[in-house]
Symmetry: C2
Subunit: 188 residues, 2 copies
DNA sequence: GACCATACGGAACCGCGGTTCCGTTTGTCA
DNA sequence: TGACAAACGGAACCGCGGTTCCGTATGGTC
């Protein structure tokens, strides 16, 4: 691969990261090209499709989350799960496209299947530790994480009028994962 | 207004309700027209814009939710809030477009401002009752409802692979609204 | 320094879907 | 029943944005 080609590929990825982070999946290819200081044709030489470009970004983002999860596991704290969730949310807050991918699935989501699987394993470890310490409800499953985080994503992007307060949303959702109070008298 | 005009308006609204419920905001005007047994032009005679049509549907849906909320208030049960949330979720599950509007706001969302305000008042009543009975956490606010329900919407539409289990999501989120266990030893 | 495969730029292409326009039909009223 | 305003149908229009195409530029090699 020629030197300038490699350089351009990097520029494009960097530009795309910013553009997609800001404008979400609606980002236009021309915009990415412009930011990268490159023509659209060049973008298409490196990534056959907009979806493919986005998929690459999503994989990278998952790779980063895997790193976060590893750190959390190694931290060895009982509430590492919650700390991980908060850090993850903080990361996602600045990436509109990733939020949308997390919410709606599709090709880029599928493309990161391997990463997702790995991440799920690490999260399971965090959950187990939390359960052992009595900080996490017994019936929590690893799949609850994408479920709930997908929900939190709604409160992030889009500059919503009323429900833009994603930190509040996250707090509530994390509380949902703690062991509940004794079931409030099963009266009906 | 001519008789056939009124009749057509109703057909269009009915058709739109079904179409938007199925395909979400991505529903095409031609589809609505076809289902209503009418030409596109006729649809546009009655609703100047796709957004306007959707807005009308959203207002109707909120009107229905207001009805649900009134019922809940009149029920007079302590956990009326939770019962209301479950019924509401059940209603929303079959309306893809409403889910999207709830998630992303925009013009149709704004159009229902009055309804939203009224609904919020009723929900506040339900919350207060729940708090008095000790079933609802003290710091819950009426605005937490759209916040969390918006999140649940993610788990509804779109036939997602992993996180399609919206009932689970709803259960968790409702648990988040209950009074928490004693804060797990403020160690950190 | 010449050569050529590789890479680039960006104008043009194309399908999609919301919206418009106008000739035709139909309800209503005298 | 005749006349006319109101309403209808749907082909055509148009902007948008992803993708393609090809003439030009350039890094690497002999």
């Amino acid at each position: 691969m020629r030197a300038d080609a490699r350089r351009n590929r990097e520029s494009i990825l960097a530009a795309a990261k910013i553009a997609f982070g800001e404008h979400g999946t609606g980002t236009q290819m021309d915009d990415v090209a412009a930011r990268a200081g490159v023509g659209v044709g060049t973008v298409y030489r490196h990534f056959p499709t907009k979806e493919a470009l986005l998929a690459e970004l999503v994989v990278q983002r998952f790779e980063m989350l895997i790193g976060r999860a590893r750190e959390a596991v190694e931290e060895g704290v009982d509430d590492a799960l919650f700390r991980f969730l908060r850090r993850t949310a903080e990361d996602m807050a600045s990436d509109a496209a990733f939020q949308q991918v997390l919410m709606f699935a599709g090709a880029p989501w599928e493309a990161a299947a391997a990463q997702r699987a790995e991440l799920q394993g690490l999260v399971q470890e965090l959950i187990d530790r939390g359960k052992r310490a009595g900080l996490v409800r017994d019936d929590m499953r690893a799949l609850d994480v994408p479920l709930l985080m997908g929900g939190v994503c709604v409160s992030m992007g889009s500059g919503l009028p009323a429900h833009a307060d994603w930190r509040r949303h996250l707090d509530l959702v994390i509380d949902a994962l703690r062991p509940g109070p004794p079931p409030p008298a099963p009266a009906a």
